[in-house]
Symmetry: C2
Subunit: 219 residues, 2 copies
């Protein structure tokens, strides 16, 4: 990478508690301001991702920072197509609920961070992956949640876009086999964090009680 | 679930910053004390997991709290077998490095939290999963990282065990198809958090520089 990953500006590490960050964190779509985030903020957020645990300490993730407006526009067009196809697949009542729901802020955020998974990292004998191969992939996902919570502490919004074909994104960003793009994250400054998740506010799907998710001794 | 998930005790929510939690968090094996964690602490940790983002707001995770000593012993025996098989598969030099590395604290922690993924939750049309099916699985992994960081803030250690066969664990805990166990987490009080990850301390694999993980515009 080159020296600069954001705009020059110096700020100190925020002290928001992990519990408050977990509550503040939203999957942001409509609240991006487009104002670029400071270089040191971006570096701290990516550093948080890079501090994640990983199977066999493989650290199989990479972060591609995309700000080229042409690339953002191309990806947004591709996502719009995937959105239409999903809308068309829905029964009429679900289609009506889905219609007003914004599913990405690719252009408005001004920046994408694409997280990839490289299954070849760490060689042939991966401690802990010989039994469950998916643990490699899981490691890269853990990095995303670290990044997401750090961003919340920085008052930076993150929105995970999954309406795309992996092969299209790999081609767009020159991601070589066997590296797999696993997420496009819109990352940027926001006007506010919604109190209630979008999909709950728009009536797509509500929250399950915690008690229902906890089982004792057996499922 | 029944009313009680831990021992009765009342403590207030810790204020450790998200960045400090990210740095403190370790994959704990040898440092469990065996002292049970308080009920409200366990509930806050599981609540943190339950606050994770999920594709289509499906919240496809469940948490099975296992403290039965017979179940812990059975699982530990199974894991010991998987450890031996991995050791046998290694070339001689890697085998020597691996020998002293502890890969689980199943009995010593006194508690396992098994996280599962239910792909049937949310019905047929999952907003955001129609393009990338793995995003359902990813959601449950995001919950694990929330739980892990909250635990770090609580001074509670978490160690992810992956040396097992999924079908064995599903059978052991009565997990019905299509629900999939994706992690056994040893969760418990600890004497300390190691400063340096075990696999780095024991020379299995070191840390990759952050700069190597960041790419601009293209991979």
């Amino acid at each position: 990478m080159t020296e600069s990953v954001g705009t020059a500006e110096s700020t100190s590490e925020p002290t928001l508690s992990v519990y408050d960050a977990i509550r503040r964190r939203r999957d942001v779509r409509a609240e991006f301001t487009g104002k670029p985030i400071a270089e040191d903020v971006l570096r701290r957020i990516l550093g948080a991702g890079h501090c994640a645990p990983s199977v066999g300490n493989t650290q199989p993730w990479d972060f591609i920072v995309v700000r080229d407006t042409g690339t953002l526009a191309d990806f947004a067009d591709h996502v719009a197509g995937a959105r239409s196809r999903f809308a068309e697949s829905l029964p009429e009542d679900q289609k009506k609920t889905f219609d007003p729901i914004k599913i990405e802020g690719i252009r408005e955020s001004g920046m994408g961070v694409v997280v990839t998974y490289d299954r070849s990292r760490g060689g042939e004998h991966i401690l802990g992956r010989h039994t469950i191969d998916d643990t490699g992939l899981f490691s890269a996902v853990l990095a995303i949640q670290n990044l997401w919570l750090a961003a919340a502490a920085e008052n930076v919004g993150v929105g995970w876009v999954s309406f795309y074909d992996e092969s299209y994104l790999a081609e767009l960003l020159g991601i070589p086999d066997p590296v797999r793009p696993i997420a496009w994250l819109c990352v940027g400054n926001v006007t506010e964090f919604q109190q209630v998740p979008d999909l709950e506010r728009f009536g797509w799907r509500g929250r399950r009680p915690l008690a229902d998710a906890i089982h004792l001794e057996k499922f």
